[in-house]
Structure formats: C-alpha cells, structure tokens
Amino acid sequence: MLKILLRRQLVEDILTSRFFISLVLILSAVCVFSLVFTDHFQQSQDTYSKAMAQNDRNLQQFAKSPVGSLGSSMQSFLLKPKPELFISEAYEENIPQGFLYEPYNYSLQLLSPKEEVSGAQHYRSISKKENPADVFTYSPDLTFIVQVLLSFFALILAFGAVTAEKEKGTLGLIYSNPTKRAYFILAKYLSALFTVGISLLIGLILSLILLNVLSAVPFSSSLISSLSLFFLVSMIYLSVFILLGILCSVLSHRSKNSLVLCLLIWVFLVIVFPKTTGMLLTLKRFDVPTGEEIQQLAQKASFETEDRLTKQLPADWSRTNFEKYRHNELFLKMLFAYDKAHQDTLDYYLRKKISAVETTRRVNFLSPASLFEYSSSSVSGTGLIHFENLWTQIRRYENDFLSYVKNERSVLEKGSFFYLFSDTISDKPLDFNAIPKFEDKNPKSGKRLKDASPYIGLLVLYNLFLFAFVVYKFQTYDVR
C-alpha cells in the first residue's frame, strides 16, 4: 500500500513545475556562489601561503643561528582556508584569524579578524561586533542554499500534502479504500524528502565539479566526506520543514491557509529567530571586557605575580640590576610566571568570549535553522569550531617546539620551569627539517561528526516529535 501511494506521489512531485523551478534556482545559486567563492578562496590561500612561507623563513633563520634569531622566531598560525568553506563559511571572517606565536616569551597573541598577518600584531579583543552569532548576514555557501532556499522549497512541496488532496476530492476517494492513514502521511513525507534530496544531490555534485574546475580544488576524500556528512545533515534539517509543511496542511482545511501558516513559520524559524536572539543577547555584552580592558587586566595580573614573587628574591634585587640575577632560578621562575599570568588572562577572556557565543547558540537551539547552521559548520570543520581546533593544535605545537629546543639545544633547564634566554641556548646550527612545523589539520570525519552530534541529535528529536504529532493529528482529520 505504501509503495503504491509513494510511487504516485513521487511522480506527481517530480513532474511539477515547482520541482523544476527550485532545481533551476538551486543550480543557479550554486554557480554564482562558486564564482564568488573561487575568487575569495584563492586570495585567502595566497595570504595563508605567504604566512606559512614567512614562518618557514623565520624558522630557517632560527635554525642557522638560534641565539641570534630567537627574538624573531615568531610564527603566524592562521586558520587554513579550506574548500569546506564553500559548504559552510560559518562567519569565519568574523572570528579571530589565528595566533601569533613568540616562543621567546611564551606569548600566544590573538590575531584579530581580517587583520593583516605579517608583522607584529597585538591582541585586540573580540568586540561584540565580532560575535559570530551577531551577524545579520548570510554567506554565499551551500549552507545558505539548504538553510534558506531548500527549506522554503520543502515547505512549498509539503504545504498542500493533505489540503490539496481534499480540495481535489481525492482524499475521500483514497480513504474509501483500505488505506492506513499513517501510510498516506509516510508516502507524502518520503516523496517530498526524496524530491528535495534529488535537488540537493544535483547541487552538491555540481558544486564539487565547479570547485574542481574553477578553484582547482581536487576531489579529496576529506572534501567528499565533508559533502557526504553535509548531505546527511541537510536531509535531517529539510525533513523538519517537510514535516512542518505537512503539519500545517493537517491543521488547515484549505491550501491557502496552510501556505500562509507555512510562510509565517519559515520566516520566524529561518530568518527572525536565529538572527535576533544573537543581537538581543549581545546587547548584554556577555560581561566580556573590551580589548583595552583585557590588556590592562593582563598587565595587572603580570604585575601582581611579579610583586608576589619578587618578595622571594634577594633584598638588593631591582628592575635596574636584573642582569645580575639572570641565572637566578627564582628570577627566571618569576619571569616565566609574569608572562604566564599575562597569557592566562588573555586566554581566560578568549574562553569567556567563546562561551558567550556558545550561550547564544544554546538559545538558538529552538530554531532548526540554527541547529543546521551549527551542525553544517561542525561537519565542515569551519567557523568557531575551526578556531577552537586551531587553538588546541597550537597548544600542542607549543609544547612540541619547546621540547625540541630543550632537548636538542642543551638549554638551561632547572626544575620545572623553562625560559628561553639567548645565552642559555647553544648557537650551533639546527637541522631545519627536524624543527617541528605547524600545520592546521582538518579533523577526521568521525571527529567532525561527533562535534555535530548534539545539533544533529536535536534535529532528529524535532523530526521524531513532528512526525508523531502529524500522524496523531491526521488520525482524526476530517477527510471529507
């Protein structure tokens, strides 16, 4: 019975002009977005390559003369531009673009959004404008196509699922036969899901080809796994809108009413809710100080640490005669603690800012459009999750780099602390190839799926609830 209903519905859905119009719209959007992305992606890749080349030059210099170039061995660790940004840009331009690492004083400075990466940068706060949840724009990516265009198409496909049949008089005719009501709903649902899925699949294949042709992005397994995960997430998201469309149809008795209801729900869930909660919450500023305030707080923390530790130094110690104490263990410990306190303060507020963004996300959990946005950025490994991943990788690299210097260059090492004074390092040239290099690696698909799982889980729950509710309401629907 289900097969009979499904086959008829599929033919009807795929042969309608609605399907062809939406397909043309989606493919046009994919083409335009590909062109925009290509241009931007190549620029980003150039910037990234330059920064990486500069890092290599600095390290080569350091390898030749570790002592002489210790101060300039800083490296820029930037968010690597990924082809996955075409799947989900996730406001990556609006978040800090990476870190500037100076092993000399244990400093890891945050690079501000869109800031030039060469030269010395200074920490700037992530102002409220830089909160990714606060951006009232859309990025030209596949996420936009699914989140906005295809969700609309899904509703358009489903809004007349029941009412149109009733208006045609076919609903009564169907139910004059031994047809289970749940099968009717299931056939409508599966057919719409398949129809939307076909449009999406064609769009994804086209985007893969265009990316390859226009940006010379190879068909890597990573990109294909990202696209596959994105397809999965998109189908779960679009399923919510198909069920909402069917629900509107079940709750209405005329297609016109159902359409109006669908449009209102779409505008609220896709446009109004996800975009306004971020703005409303950022009005409170999340209790995160401004960049200048953070700098002052970091400075204050350093001084307090210094004051506390200098009490342990010999009485004749002062800032002017510190050269005398450069090999004093307590003094070195103090320098280390001084910088660490500064860094910890900066890190603390960075974590706080990230937590503020996550708070916004939690409020937006009510909107399937937001859940989809977060899950697509998670499966693509872009946006805030990319930044957090970069940060984790840098922390690991920092340890690797210092361990290398410590082990290879017989640096002064006492107790549990370690500090890079030039005269504690041997100036014997290093093997450049042996120096650990930083690379922003894309997490494996399993990890990305795990990151997305809370959002996907909620979307699945939405689906289950809506499906059960639709079937329940339709059991008592007046089919006359």
């Binding site: 009979i4 008089g169 009564g172």
Partner: protein
C-alpha cells in the same frame, strides 16, 4: 427478490455533529445484493452523512454501520475492501491520465495484477471515449470525470457501491448513460446506495426509494409500490410538512 444478508446495513444509526446538528437520526437501512436504494432529501437531510458514516469518514454518535457484515467502526480497513465510492464531484489527479488514475485507485482497492487492456475494458464499459484513455484528466469535462469515477468503482469490483449525488451537474445524455451502467452493476449483484436530488431518476433506477428529512428516514417505498403512487407528490408533501421534533439520543439530555 430472495432475501440474503444485506451488504450495506445500518442499525439504529445516529450522528450528531459538534455544532449540535443531528444529521442522522436512528436510521435503519438494509441494502441487499442486486438492489439499488435511492436516498432522496433536501440539502442537509443527512444523505451524505449516511454515506460518510458507511465509509468511516466520521464516527457515528450511536448505532452501527455494517458493510458485508463487518462493523465499519470496529474494522474500517476490512469493511472498506467491500465497498466502492463515487462522489458528487470527482476531480482525481489532473496531471495523470485516465488510465494512470484508474491504475492508482485500482491498486489501492487491491487489484494489483491488472494489465493495460483491463483498464481499457473498464473505461469502454463506462462509455469513456477511447481517445481519452491516455489523456490527462485535467482536460476532462465533468461527465468524463464522473465516468472515470464510476470506472474506479467498477474496477474495484466490491459488492457494495456508495454514490453521492453522482448525476448532479451531468447533462441528460451523460446521466442516462450513467444509469445504464448502474443497471448493469445491479444485475451483477452489487448493492448500491445512491443519494440524489433527482426524483425521476431515483424512481427509474431505484428498487427502493427512501426520503430523508432532518436526519430521519421518513418514508420508504418499493419500486412496485411506486407504480401506484406519485413519488414527486410524496416528496413535495414531506418537504412541506412541519419540522420534525428532535429527540435526544441515548445518553443526551432531553431538549
């Protein structure tokens, strides 16, 4: 006519809608194989509600509907295997051809092994033009759609057929053709319940004719009885008579 088990039967059937309207009031009907029962009545008399109750589109307030001896409320899926339905305004799927529509509804009715020729045969039988078989239904006239509707009922080959004002809006020729098909189905032993406003055709086709007023079956005559009575006069007299007193249903408070 040899009395067998009725195919379509109501047992003290009543339906009161949520707005308080008593649409069907203690209706008792028995329609036997090879019998056409015509239900006459003004708009709102309860004819369509009776058909809807047979199809389990709405639940009865009291009483029971049986199709082929099966309680419609208790086992609707089983009961619907034994009944076909033709509505007043058959719209069908406009983007599908006549054959595709027929194929879909035949399969829903359980006829899954039919060939193209079987569909053509049924459509020929209901006098649908050959050239229309593979045409999209959206271009069909009302008469053509009604014929296709009856072909859906024919192909299901159920022992009971429910017709809800099937000739309304049809031109006289199409209506006449429609009645011819009904006569054939009757000869095949189908039990047919037809609601209609058309007194003349009811008299012509009906083995029994019932008049409903305000939900009650107020009169019933056999074909033989109607040879000596004027159905038009009876109908008009009943329509002009005083409104009936509405009695509360069991369990309802007295009015």
């Amino acid at each position: 006519m040899a009395k067998q088990q009725p195919i379509l039967k109501t047992d003290d059937l009543s339906k009161r809608y949520e707005d308080g309207v008593l649409a069907v009031d203690h209706l008792n009907l028995n329609i036997y194989p090879g019998e056409v029962y015509c239900l006459l009545g003004a708009n709102g008399a309860g004819k369509t509600t009776t058909i809807n109750l047979f199809l389990n589109f709405i639940p009865p307030t009291t009483g029971t509907c049986y199709v082929n001896g099966i309680d419609v409320t208790k086992d609707p899926l089983e009961a619907k295997k034994y009944v076909s339905f033709v509505s007043e305004n058959v719209m069908l799927y406009g983007n599908f051809t006549a054959r595709q529509n027929l194929d879909f509804f035949a399969k829903l009715g359980g006829k899954t092994n039919l060939a193209k020729n079987d569909y053509y045969q049924v459509m020929r039988r209901v006098s649908l033009q050959e050239k229309a078989f593979e045409q999209r239904v959206k271009n069909f006239s009302k008469g053509m759609r009604q014929k296709l509707g009856i072909s859906i009922a024919v192909i299901k080959d159920a022992p009971g057929i429910l017709l809800d004002e099937p000739t309304s809006g049809l031109d006289p020729k199409a209506a006449e053709e429609f009645l011819e098909i009904l006569n054939e189905l009757k000869k095949e032993g189908k039990a047919i319940l037809m609601s209609t406003h058309d007194i003349f055709r009811a008299k012509e086709i009906g083995d029994r004719v019932g008049i409903m007023k305000e939900g009650r079956l107020v009169m019933e005559r056999t074909r033989e009885e109607l040879q000596y009575e004027d159905l038009v006069k009876i109908y008009i007299d009943y329509m002009k008579s005083e409104p009936l007193k509405i009695w509360p249903l069991p369990g309802e408070p007295a009015c």
